[in-house]
Amino acid sequence: MALIDLRATELVGRLQAGDVASVELTRAFLDRINQCDNKVKAFLRVDPSAALARAEEIDQRRKAGKPIGRLQGLPVAIKDLLCTKGEPTTCASRILENFRPPYDATVIARLKAADAVLIGKTNMDEFAMGGSTENSGFFPTHNPWDLARIPGGSSGGSAASVAAQMAPLAVGSDTGGSIRCPAGLCGISGMKPTYGRVSRYGLVAFASSLDQIGPLGRTAEDLALLLEVLAGHDPLDSTSIDVPVPPYTQTIGKPLENLRIGLVREHFGEGLDPEVEKAVREAVRVYESLGATIKEVSLPHGKYAVATYYIIAPCEASSNLARYDGVHYGHRTNEKEMVAELEAQRRGLIKSGDRAGADKLENALIRMYRRSRSEGFGPEVKRRIMLGTYALSAGYYDAYYKKALKVRRLIRRDFDRAFEEVDLIAGPVTPTPAFKLGEKVDDPLAMYLFDLYTVSLNLAGLPGISIPGGFSSSGLPIGLQLQAPPFEEDRLLRGANMFQQATDWHTRKPKL
């Protein structure tokens, strides 16, 4: 079996035993990237010599008998919104095209300390805003199972890199489904941990009360390994929670006893593709055969989740993205052109006798902000900045923002009630398998509604996982989502592992 066919946990074991060197392994994945990424386009940047130098350094330390971190020189792909010191970090936005952060994100520091080889930065929807990776400011990523289709988003590059075997593990972020959706559509596993479980320090902010970093890999075991490295309290993130991180990799093999699984009545309504529904129901039967009890539960406010999310997330985004002003870092408009344009407008107004209009023109600083931002941001980012600014403005604040925050509490209460009766909730990840590139680009509302089954978990702050749950008749992966109460990642991983011991969906690989 080729190295790239092995799972992350197996590879770490081999590295540790000295059966394979990190250089050899890193080269195998770099070769795969060379072979496939011109089709998939999962990576924004790969620096082979830096990755190999790092692998070499780890191998040298191993030879010298010095201690090696948890990941033993395993390559890991990184979503390009995690700050890596001195290396470009773009968020797939033109506005950050030349940005090189002066520090490492906490998760990057943790990965480096665990001796991961950072193999490349992956593509995404610009600022993580989207569910298809078509909103990248550079190029779209393609689904390895069908190159004409989207990989999901916003961590589409991370998911596609693992699905196409260009990386054994990847890091993503999930604000409204951005790990679970692409994991589901690419036929791999991905987890959004509880809000506060993983430090957000150095994660470029989209919606700060919803963003959470998490692992992507082939199996639940892979996720357990990476989550152990990523999770933990960080004084640099005041929302990171100071609770112990359980040893996920040690408990994952233990099946959950007397498991009660909830099926949400409202999940199986209009808009759910029959093949996705069939896969979810069959997955539930697998759990039944493993001794689980299945119970119907209700999340009555679920139908309001998309509207609630698309008020709260843009509000937070409009505030977070105010920092892109062409002054401190990022793109700045051509100043000479800008001043000439402003001067010409002023002269034009005065010439037409509109002195008042000329006086009302903004000054050069404000015009510089506006031009820099408009040149740097893509259409979806602009749409969300305007939505958020509108929903937060005087006169609309109560009707939109405050109302959404109240509904957010109702959504959380629904979950709390459901989890009094069941241990895990099982359901779909997305309403349909991967759609075609371009299919929804002109219809943002249709794109938003694709997030129907994922956003409520972020609003509630709870953990969730997406694992391969089947395939459509046309050979596209279908994800199964499991959701759990706060800080029950261990339960999710064990539940997912039980399913993967009984099925083989997670072993299937696309032909590339």
Binding site: F99, R100, P102, Y195, G196, S209, P235, S238, T239, I241, H301, K303, Y304, A307, Y310, I311, S318, L321, A322, V327, H328, Y329, H331, R332, E335, M338, V339, E343, N363, A364, L365, I366, R367, Y369, R370, R373, S374, F377, K382, R383, I385, M386, L387, T389, Y390, Y400, K403, A404, L405, K406, V407, R408, R409, L410, P444, L445, Y448, L459, A460, G461
Partner: protein, 85 residues
């Protein structure tokens, strides 16, 4: 213009339609009675987190200025805001 953006006529045209659709969809929330519901700004019920009020090393000035599109040795530079442009 909202959020300090500048849109072309064509962008304005498309966005107006799209924003209209999106905002109309948001009206769905109107059917819920939330009068006695406390807003939930955050998923965690954590109180303010404070650190000791001690000075610590912070980002070096050169590092902080390194990404600036326009700077001198010590400062960020912006277009003149006083007087005629």
């Amino acid at each position: 213009m909202l959020g300090r953006l500048l849109l072309t006529e064509a962008e304005l045209d498309t966005m107006t339609h799209q924003m209209g659709d999106i905002l109309a969809y948001m009206d769905l929330l109107g059917e819920l009675d939330t009068e006695h519901v406390e807003p939930m700004a955050h998923a965690l019920d954590v109180a303010n987190v404070f650190r000791d009020d001690k000075a610590r090393p912070s980002l070096d000035r050169e590092d902080a200025l390194a990404n600036a599109p326009h700077r001198d040795a010590e400062c960020y530079l912006v277009p003149a805001v006083l007087g005629e442009v």
